[in-house]
């Protein structure tokens, strides 16, 4: 079997245990995330796992790539500990403020600089923005076909993959020739745990850092200036309702509730 080189795109996301610390800057309309630790997105772990499994089956190389501020190195180190052969960080002030289009553009140029890939893996959606748009957009910029919502993936023949695209109440099985972009769901696999070997690999490997110029990205197409969408406003969500607590003996509150619901016309009157 021909060796298969995979690139896995991983996104730094604010650690979910600290989400209540994400606050809104009312003036700038941006989210303040300072001091919140970052983590490797859960689906990105599944994406990495699938790439590692392919490498085990067919040989080849696994490269993790991420676009983010310098602190993003941490999650790339994780990727190496888990088994990635190399890791690339696209980091540059010029990348900041990117929407999915500009994020995808930067990642696509990074992947081109790596010499392309046979399979480019994504999580189906990120934990924070969770638009699920970056994968298909990278595919367009690299002129590769894409399949998202993948919960089963097999190698077929010399140069193809069979992917199960999960849709509402069913699935579509497709066969695609490589190179291809695949975005995975949680159910595709069970990500492995780090091993002691991993920490040893980490000592031998360096994380490659590339700037916008290094990958040859057009400055007009990255970061905030390159983003076709803009956030015009951000608000925190009010889910508060009237919160009337009914108290008393179970049978009394039950009757009381029924009366209230009838008065609100959401239950038919007896």
């Amino acid at each position: 079997m021909k060796p298969i080189n995979s690139v896995v795109c991983i996104k730094p996301v604010p650690d979910q245990r600290f989400w209540d610390k994400v606050s809104l800057d009312k003036k700038t309309k941006t989210l303040r995330r300072t001091g919140i630790p970052i983590a490797l997105g859960p689906l990105d772990k599944n994406a990495l796992e699938e790439a590692l499994r392919i490498r085990e089956a067919s040989g080849g190389k696994v490269t993790a790539i991420s676009m983010g501020p310098p602190g993003t190195e941490e999650i790339l180190e994780w990727a190496i500990v888990l088994g990635a052969d190399e890791a690339v960080l696209l980091t540059d002030r010029a990348f900041a403020g990117a929407d999915t289009w500009a994020t995808a553009y930067a990642l696509a140029w990074g992947i081109k600089k790596l010499g392309g890939a046979d399979v480019v893996f994504f999580g189906n959606e990120s934990l924070d923005g969770s638009t699920g748009q970056v994968g298909p957009q990278v595919a367009e910029f690299l002129d590769m076909p894409h399949v998202t919502h993948v919960n089963k993936l097999d190698l077929v023949g010399e140069d193809a993959l069979r992917a199960r695209f999960h849709i509402e109440h069913g699935f579509i099985d497709v066969e695609v020739k490589r190179p291809v972009v695949i975005a995975v769901e949680k159910t595709i696999n069970e990500p492995r745990c780090p091993t002691l070997w991993g920490t040893i690999w980490l000592r031998e490997r360096k994380i490659i850092r590339w700037s916008a110029d290094d990958v040859g990205a057009d400055k007009a197409k990255i970061g905030l200036p390159g983003s076709p969408t803009q956030v015009s406003d951000v608000i925190t969500i009010e889910l508060k309702r009237k919160s009337e607590i009914l108290s008393g003996e179970p049978s009394d509150v039950a009757r009381l509730l029924v009366q209230k619901l009838q008065a609100d016309s959401v239950l038919p009157k007896g």
């Binding site: 994968g135 076709p228 608000i235 509730l257």
Partner: protein, 331 residues
């Protein structure tokens, strides 16, 4: 005169049946079109789907772009992207909305990159601002924040809409849309994605999204045995049964059909009753559109009480049987 005019929606169909979200999009589109005095068009792609064009007209479309060909029988991103691009170039819409279904979410970002425009993701609200710009309300961080996203300098202004969040219009029998045929210029050999099989489960019961009353159970229900209590309460009310994530993980409920929230379904019943549910944001975003929310939880500090109209603090094993009695008596 504006170069980009009209609102275009993607009328998703599967196996010759229009998806509910396609009709919801026509509902959104009609409102904007009337406000802007523009036209509302739909794109319909598939095989032997011609008759659906009439249905789209009855639900509000003025025009239907129809691509009908055996190569389009089952969705694949490469074929559908080519046709979307074709229609966009012909029609030059001001706004393009697609459903944030699995298929819509797979197709929309590809189309946006192809025609070089921005895309607002799984919106739960739309507006036209005072400068005439299309604004999409995009939830983030599991629904804790809401961003207003615009796309000021690129066309079409694109968005995906969250299924179940918007109302379809009343069907107007006999209302007609003009049908414009779109030619398919590619062959099977030109496509990189080959469909090798499909499977769609027959839905026996009414989908939860359409239920007038929803009774949802959480991890606090405690087990399969107690889950029957939840189902019994729902039975008395003629309600659909929903769940948070943990009961689905435990196997008391079905993830695909019953999970409500950020990664599951959005319900919009007149009455929602949540039992043994703490009230995580991930779940609450899916019940936001309920008319009246009732919460039953033994912990008086459970966050769900803040998001409920009526709360009962107590053990569900004692409350539910009494509630079933009271409902029976009253009906």
């Amino acid at each position: 005169m504006k170069e980009h005019k009209g609102i275009l929606v993607f009328a998703e169909q599967r196996a010759g049946k229009l998806s509910s979200v396609g009709l919801e999009l026509l509902g959104i589109g009609r409102k904007i079109a009337d406000k802007q005095q523009e036209e509302l068009a739909a794109v319909l792609i598939g095989h032997k789907v011609g008759p659906l064009a009439d249905e789209l007209g009855e639900y509000g479309a003025d025009k239907v772009y129809l691509a009908d060909n055996p190569l389009l029988d089952v969705y694949r991103s490469d074929a559908y992207t080519i046709l979307m691009q074709e229609v966009i170039q012909q029609y030059k819409p001001n706004i393009l909305i697609m459903g944030a279904t699995c298929i819509g979410a797979d197709l929309a970002p590809r189309v946006a990159a192809k025609v070089n425009t921005g895309l607002s993701a799984h919106c739960v609200g739309f507006d036209i601002d005072d400068q005439g710009r299309f604004v999409g309300q995009v939830p983030g961080f599991g629904g804790a924040v809401m961003a207003s996203v615009i796309c000021p300098n690129h066309y079409p202004q694109m968005a995906t809409a969250r299924p179940g969040f918007f109302e379809k219009l009343e069907r107007q029998k006999g209302r007609k849309a003009e049908v414009v045929k779109v030619d398919v210029k590619f062959k099977e050999e030109d496509l990189k994605i080959k469909v090798v099989g499909t499977f769609v489960e027959e839905l026996k019961s009414r989908p939860l999204e359409d239920a007038d009353i929803v009774v949802a159970g959480g991890y606090g229900v405690g087990g399969k045995e107690n889950w029957k209590l939840v189902e019994e309460l729902a039975g008395v009310l003629g309600a659909g049964v929903g769940a948070t994530r943990p009961p689905c993980d435990e196997g008391w409920a079905d993830l695909e059909r019953q999970m409500i929230g950020q990664s599951g379904k959005t319900v919009r019943p007149t009455l929602y009753i949540g039992v043994g549910i703490s009230g995580a944001m991930h779940h609450l975003v899916g019940i936001k559109n309920s008319k009246v929310v009732v919460a039953i939880n033994k912990d008086p500090n459970a966050p769900i009480f803040q998001a409920a109209d009526y709360g009962i603090v107590g053990d569900l094993c004692q409350i539910i049987p009494r509630l079933i009695e009271a409902m029976r008596v009253s009906s």
